[in-house]
């Protein structure tokens, strides 16, 4: 048998990734509640503790939660390696990550240094287990295709993000003398441009052609993009730390052009898909790629036009575009592909030849996916508008964020409940047949 060097090990049990996917949407709801509670003050500056609390509810509670869960699922299928003891590993990551994502915003909000200790312990442990398990698996990968290379770069970036995050935590709790502004910039850059963008890049190489029926990404692009971006990010960080602002600007501009090129290539591929009627998750990719392109161009413009960088709204706009517009939207769309497919796959795997299983579209019809898309788009537009008029628009933006998060959570819970019902009925039929 020819298997092109890939392992045929079993995919991890459904509950391994599912626990992350079912938890994450409720962090969007928590973020909405925080916005409702604190009101326009949240958008006064990116440096306020309340803004940092909101950011980490979204980046750790929602984004990292799904990204880690998806990696545990993807590694055996795409890379051909298995994470050892998947259920135990998932629990050792999921519980501290979820608690840490709750405690860290509390630490920012309370202003009490003591809260940063448990936050750092929980997140350090959860991400530490995730990084160890996934990096070991990735380094043992029998094939080093473009996705594996991009994932390795993304995981390396998560390691840097975590290390800097812990160092900043020490600053917040113990007042350690650190160049905190520069470290925060570098921490943010590695978290958003390294970990988030490069992980989406590695996943996009596989899923955009497969799920959206587009041509593949160009080979030269797939081979070179992630290592080049990681190298630029490293150079940018070193220049930031030594204070070489002139050089840093040019490397930053190159990074922005790189990100824009990924958004542009993906957008171009999406216009060349083989199906005329788009998949229901296509709209989430459009929101994500448009936001990424807009964010990259805006960043590029601020680097070249110093007067623009002085504008008070720019950093918040970049945050909304990159965190909600790009990452949350793309992850939201991906969840609608991953969760119903896994439910359907695990039903097939367990009930094949024993009981009838539903089609994937019965597990999650297209209509709620398309309906929730409108709330996702409305949230992005309201958040962007709220950057300019927070006093009026922060409340509708918060409500919209709460609605879209809850809608996603309910839709995913619906798939899980349908899965349980079919599985229980199938197993009951089989035991009746046996008796």
């Amino acid at each position: 048998m020819i298997t092109t060097g890939l392992s045929l090990e079993q995919a991890p049990p459904f509950d391994v990734p599912l626990r992350f996917f079912l938890t994450a949407p409720w962090f969007l709801v928590l973020a909405a509640l925080l916005l409702l509670w604190q009101g326009p003050a949240v958008f006064a500056s990116r440096w306020l503790p309340v803004t940092l609390a909101l950011t980490h509810l979204l980046t750790v509670g929602f984004m990292a939660q799904v990204m880690v869960g998806a990696l545990l699922q993807m590694l055996p299928v795409v890379v051909g390696v298995v994470v050892p003891r998947p259920r135990l590993t998932a629990a050792l990551i999921h519980v501290p990550l979820t608690l840490g994502a709750l405690v860290l915003p509390l630490a920012f909000l309370s202003g009490r240094p003591g809260w940063f200790h448990p936050a750092m312990g929980l997140l350090g442990f959860g991400f530490g287990v995730a990084l160890t398990a996934i990096l070991i698996a990735l380094w043992r990968a029998p094939v080093a295709n473009s996705t594996v290379v991009a994932l390795r770069c993304a995981l390396g970036a998560l390691l840097v993000t975590l290390g800097l995050g812990l160092a900043l935590g020490v600053y917040w709790c113990c007042g350690l003398g650190l160049p905190v502004i520069v470290l925060t910039h570098v921490h943010t850059a590695w978290g958003l441009l390294g970990w988030t963008v490069l992980l989406v890049v590695g996943v996009a190489y596989q899923v955009v052609p497969m799920l959206q029926m587009t041509p593949p990404y160009p080979g030269w692009f797939m081979r070179g993009f992630a290592p080049l971006m990681a190298a630029l990010l490293l150079a940018w960080s070193v220049l930031a730390l030594v204070g070489a602002e002139g050089m840093m600007k040019w490397v930053g501009a190159a990074l922005a052009v790189g990100i824009a090129s990924f958004a542009g290539v993906t957008g171009y591929l999406l216009t060349r898909r083989r199906r005329r009627i788009g998949d229901p998750t296509l709209g989430y990719w459009w929101i994500g790629m448009t936001s990424l392109l807009a964010g990259a161009l805006l960043w590029w413009a601020t680097l070249l036009i110093p007067a623009l960088a002085q504008q008070p709204h720019i950093e918040l706009l970049l945050g909304v575009l990159s965190i909600f517009g790009f990452a949350v939207a793309v992850i939201n769309g991906m969840l609608y592909k991953i969760v119903p497919f896994l439910a359907w796959f695990h039903l097939q795997a367990q009930l094949l030849g024993r009981a009838k299983t539903p089609h994937m579209k019965q597990l999650l019809p297209e209509k709620p996916i398309r309906q929730q898309w409108w709330s996702c788009l409305a949230t992005l537009l309201l958040l962007l508008a709220a950057v300019f008029h927070p006093a009026v628009l922060i409340y509708p933006a918060a409500l919209s964020l709460g609605v879209t998060g809850m809608w996603l959570g309910v839709n995913l819970l619906g798939v899980w409940r349908y899965y349980r019902r079919v599985l229980d009925a199938g197993m009951a039929t089989e035991s009746l047949a046996r008796s």
């Binding site: 298997t3 890939l6 045929l8 079993q10 995919a11 055996p76 299928v77 083989r274 796959f345 994937m360």
Partner: protein, 74 residues
């Protein structure tokens, strides 16, 4: 093996997860001694997982930029 003993499912170019849906539907029809030939444009790892779990015998060959998987009942 004669063509009567061979069922073919061509999943090349179909939208995900239709190839997998078709091949699993065909597996349910597969008789002992019969062989299912599945043509697909990418390595169908989820299918291998299901085949392994249910002890089907199978063999994969790379053909014309895609893959041919021959499957027989346990």
């Amino acid at each position: 093996m004669s063509t009567a003993d061979m069922m073919t499912v061509d999943g090349r170019g179909l939208e995900h997860p239709e190839p997998l849906e078709r091949v699993l539907a065909a597996l349910e029809q597969l008789q002992p001694g019969q062989c299912l030939r599945f043509l697909i444009h990418r390595q169908p790892f989820p299918l291998y997982d299901i085949l392994n779990r249910h002890q089907y015998r199978y063999e994969t060959r790379a053909v014309d930029g895609g893959f041919e998987i021959l499957i027989a009942k346990p």
